[in-house]
Amino acid sequence: MSTRDQVLGRIRRALADAQREAAPARGAVDRGYLRVHGHRDAAQTADLLAENLADYRAIVHRATGDELPGRLAGLLAARGARRVVVPPGLPERWLAALQDVERVPDSAGLTARELDAVDSVVTGCAVAIAETGTIVLDAGPDQGRRRITLVPDHHVVVVRVPEQVVDSVPQALERLDPVRPLTWISGPSATSDIELDRVEGVHGPRTLEVVLVTD
C-alpha cells in the first residue's frame, strides 16, 4: 500500500466515530464576523491606510497624477539611487522625470546577484488594505517578479486612490487571484526575535515608501 493510501486510511479509521456526511456540509462555518470594521468614506479609508502604514514605519506620501513623476524622481534622488529596477509594465509616464538614474528592466535573465547591486525598485500594486496597512503585490505587469521587490533595499510603491484601496482583509481576498503569486507587505522588513520587541530591518527592503496617488 502506498503511504498516501495508508495515511488516508488512518484518517478514515480515526474518524469512524464522527458519522460523517459523504462530503463537507455547507454552513459548517458561521461567517457572522464583520466584513469591515467601522464606517468610513473613501477619503477616510485612505487616511486610515496612510495612518496604519506609517504606524509600521512605512514612509507615506501623497500626490496627484500630475505630480507623480516629479515626486518619484525626488524620492529616488533623495535616496541617492543610481540604479532602479523597473517592472515591464510600469507606466512610462511615472518615471518620465528621472535624471541620471539607470533603469534596470526586470527580465527573467536578471539574477539575484545583479539585483543586489540595484539601489531601488519602483512598482505599482494590486490592492491596499486600510485596516491593516497592507500593500498586496500580485506580480502583475506594473509589479514584476517577486524577487525585484525583495532584494533591493529601497522599495517605492504607488497606490492608486481610491480604486486600489479596500477597507479590510476579507475585501482584499475577494479581489485577489490565488493562482498568481502574492506578496503581502505591511511595512518594511522587521523582526520580533530579540526579546519579542519589534525592530525594523532584516532581509527585505529596509525602506518602504508608499505614494498614494489621486487623480
Binding site: S2, T3, R4, Q6, V7, L8, G9, R10, I11, R13, A14, L15, A18, R20, A23, P24, V29, D30, Y33, L34, H37, D55, Y56, A112, I129, T132, G133, T134, A139, R145, R146, R147, L150, V169, P170, L173, P178, V179, R180, P181, L182, T183, W184, I185, S186, G187, S189, A190, T191, S192, D193, I194, E195, L196, R198, V199, G201, V202, H203, G204
Partner: protein
C-alpha cells in the same frame, strides 16, 4: 540544529533546573510580558474577535472532520498547478523524502525558512547525516543554530536569549558558518539584525534549494501560505530553483475565503500586529518567477493518531501562534526546553504526548506541566480547550486505555509511578465542578508560596495577577512536581497549598 531533545529528563527535573537559572527566567519574563500586553491591545481593536475565533474553530473542525477529502483535493490542485505531492507517514519517511529530493538536485546546501514541522521531524540532523548543510535563516533560528542550542518558543525560538547573549553568540560563531560578525558589534537589536542580514545575504544569493513549512494550504486552489516578518521567508520561497515545503496534514484549509479569518487571527495573536510584515502565497510554480520545481511533503507523524482521540483531536486546530506560551505561568518559569520537544508550553503539553505517545517519563509527565489555570484557552485564537485535553491526557497516563499508535488501536496500561494520579484525577474532576473550593485552595497556595521560593508556582498567585475569575485546578503542577521530582520522594511541605486539599493522601494506592 545540532542539539537534541533525546534523553531529556522528565519535565519536573528539567523545569527545576530552568527555574534556578535566573537569567533565563528574567529573559522569559521580560519577553512574554512585553508581548502579552501588546497582544491584548491588538485583539481589542477588532470588535468581532470572538466571532472570528469561533469561525476559526469551526473551519478547523470542518477540516479535521473531512481531512481525507480536503487532502485529496489539495493534492489534485497542487499537482495541476505544477507541484509534486509526497506523503510521509512518520518523521523518518519525511526526512528520507526530503533528503532524496535535495540529493537529486546535486546540491549540498539548503536555506530554510523557520518551520515547526521540520523541527519536529529533526530534518536538519537527517540532512547533516547525508552531508547536506541546512542554513536556518530566521533570526531566532539562526541564533539557536549558531549557539548550538535548542529552540524554546514556537515563534521566537531564541526567546531564552537576551540581546547581550545574542551579541556574544554572533561574535563567537558567525565566522565558523560564513561571514563573521562585524567588528565591535554592540547588543543593540538594530545592529544585531544588520549582522544577520549581512551574514545571510551571501547564502540567499547562491541558494539553489529552499526548504519551508507553511502556515496554511488551500485545498480548493492548491495555494500555500507562509506568514513571516523578516523577509527570509520571501528569500527562500522565491530565489532558489527548487522549493520543498514540509507541512503537517492538518494545515489544510478548505477555501481561499477561509484565509480572511486566519489572516486576521494569526498576526494579532502571534506578534500582536495588525498584519505581519510579509505574507507569501504561491500556487504550484509560476513561469520565470520563483522556483521552477516545487515539492510538497505532507507529514502525518502522529497526527492521524491524534485525530483518533475524540477529546485530544482539537489540538490539531492549532495555528502555532504561541499566544498560549506567552500567557502561561508554568512556561514563563520553566522555559521552553523543559518540554523536550519542538512544541513547548501549553500546546506542547497536549500535542507532544499525542504525537509521540507517553512511553517516556518525559512525555508522560507533560500533561502535568500545567496549573490548569485556563489562560491558554482564553487567548487561543482557535479556542482549543487545553485544560480539558490536559485532564484527559492525565487520565490516560494514570488509568491507561485505548489509544491509536501508528494507525493501530492499542490498549495502554496505567503508567508505572503514576498510580497516584488516579486519585489526583478524581480531585481534578471534583474541583472542576466546585469552583469555590478551588478558590479557597488557590488562596492557600498563594499564602504559602513564599516558603518555597525556588519551586514552580502553583495555580495561586501567578494567574490571579491577571485574571479575576478562577478557572480549573487539580493536583496542581507544583504539587505533582514537589512530590515526584528527583527520586520521586515526597518533597517537604507537601501539606501546603495542595490546591484542593484532596487527593494527595491516597497517593500510595496502587489501583
Amino acid at each position: 540544529m545540532s542539539g537534541t531533545y533525546l534523553g531529556m529528563p522528565a519535565f519536573p527535573v528539567a523545569a527545576g533546573e530552568a527555574v534556578r537559572d535566573t537569567t533565563l527566567r528574567g529573559n522569559l519574563r521580560h519577553a512574554t510580558h512585553t508581548i502579552r500586553d501588546k497582544r491584548a491591545r491588538a485583539v481589542a481593536e477588532l470588535d468581532d474577535w470572538q466571532q472570528l475565533r469561533a469561525a476559526g474553530k469551526q473551519i478547523k473542525d470542518d477540516v479535521l472532520r473531512h481531512l481525507d477529502h480536503y487532502l485529496v483535493r489539495l493534492e489534485e490542485a497542487v499537482t495541476t498547478a505544477g507541484g509534486t505531492v509526497h506523503w510521509a507517514a512518520d518523521a523518518d519517511e519525511a526526512n528520507r523524502i526530503v533528503t532524496d529530493l535535495v540529493r537529486a538536485t546535486g546540491e549540498t546546501e539548503v536555506v530554510k525558512v523557520k518551520s515547526m514541522a521540520t523541527q519536529e521531524i529533526g530534518l536538519n540532523d537527517a540532512l547533516a547525516e547525508a552531508g547536506i548543510t541546512a542554513y536556518e535563516t530566521d533570526l531566532a533560528e539562526l541564533i539557536v543554530q549558531l549557539g548550538d542550542d535548542l529552540p524554546s518558543h514556537i515563534l521566537v525560538p531564541a526567546i531564552h536569549r537576551n540581546r547581550s547573549e545574542i551579541r556574544d553568540i554572533f561574535t563567537d560563531a558567525m565566522g565558523r558558518w560564513g561571514r563573521p560578525a562585524p567588528e565591535g558589534l554592540s547588543d543593540s537589536p538594530a545592529e544585531l539584525a544588520e549582522a544577520a542580514r549581512l551574514h545571510l545575504r551571501e547564502k540567499f544569493l547562491r541558494a539553489k534549494v529552499g526548504i519551508s513549512g507553511a502556515n496554511f494550504m488551500i485545498a480548493e486552489t492548491g495555494t500555500l501560505v507562509v506568514v513571516e516578518s523578516e523577509g527570509n521567508g520571501r528569500m527562500c520561497l522565491t530565489l532558489p530553483e527548487t522549493l520543498i515545503s514540509v507541512v503537517g496534514i492538518e494545515k489544510v484549509l478548505p477555501s481561499w475565503q477561509d484565509l480572511e479569518v486566519f489572516l486576521q487571527l494569526l498576526p494579532r495573536s502571534s506578534t500582536a500586529e495588525r498584519m505581519n510584515p510579509y505574507t507569501s502565497t504561491w500556487t504550484g510554480t509560476t513561469d520565470e518567477d520563483g522556483p521552477r520545481t516545487f515539492h510538497l511533503v505532507l507529514v502525518d507523524n502522529g497526527r492521524t493518531d491524534t485525530l483518533a482521540d475524540e477529546v485530544g483531536r482539537q489540538a490539531l486546530r492549532c495555528i502555532r501562534c504561541s499566544a498560549c506560551l506567552n500567557v502561561c505561568p508554568v512556561y514563563e518559569r520553566a522555559g521552553g526546553h523543559a518540554y523536550g520537544s519542538a512544541y513547548p508550553g501549553p500546546i506542547g503539553a497536549i500535542l507532544t504526548p499525542q504525537l509521540r505517545g507517553t512511553d517516556t517519563a518525559l512525555d508522560a509527565s507533560l500533561p502535568y506541566a500545567s496549573s490548569l489555570c485556563g489562560a491558554c484557552y482564553e487567548v487561543c485564537p482557535v479556542a482549543i480547550d487545553i485544560p480539558e485535553v490536559l485532564v484527559h491526557l492525565r487520565e490516560r497516563v494514570v488509568q491507561g486505555g485505548e489509544v491509536t499508535r501508528a494507525g493501530n488501536r492499542v490498549t495502554l496500561r496505567p503508567a508505572k509511578g503514576h498510580a497516584a494520579e488516579r486519585a489526583a484525577m478524581r480531585a481534578a474532576r471534583w474541583a472542576l465542578d466546585h469552583p469555590a473550593a478551588l478558590r479557597a485552595g488557590q488562596r492557600l497556595a498563594s499564602r504559602t508560596r513564599r516558603f518555597h521560593p525556588r519551586r514552580l508556582p502553583g495555580p495561586g498567585k501567578a494567574w490571579t495577577d491577571t485574571r479575576d475569575v478562577p478557572a480549573v485546578p487539580a493536583e496542581s503542577f507544583r504539587d505533582w512536581w514537589q512530590r515526584t521530582r528527583g527520586t520521586g520522594a515526597a518533597a517537604t511541605g507537601s501539606g501546603t497549598g495542595t490546591g484542593t486539599g484532596t487527593g494527595i493522601e491516597s497517593r500510595e494506592g496502587t489501583k
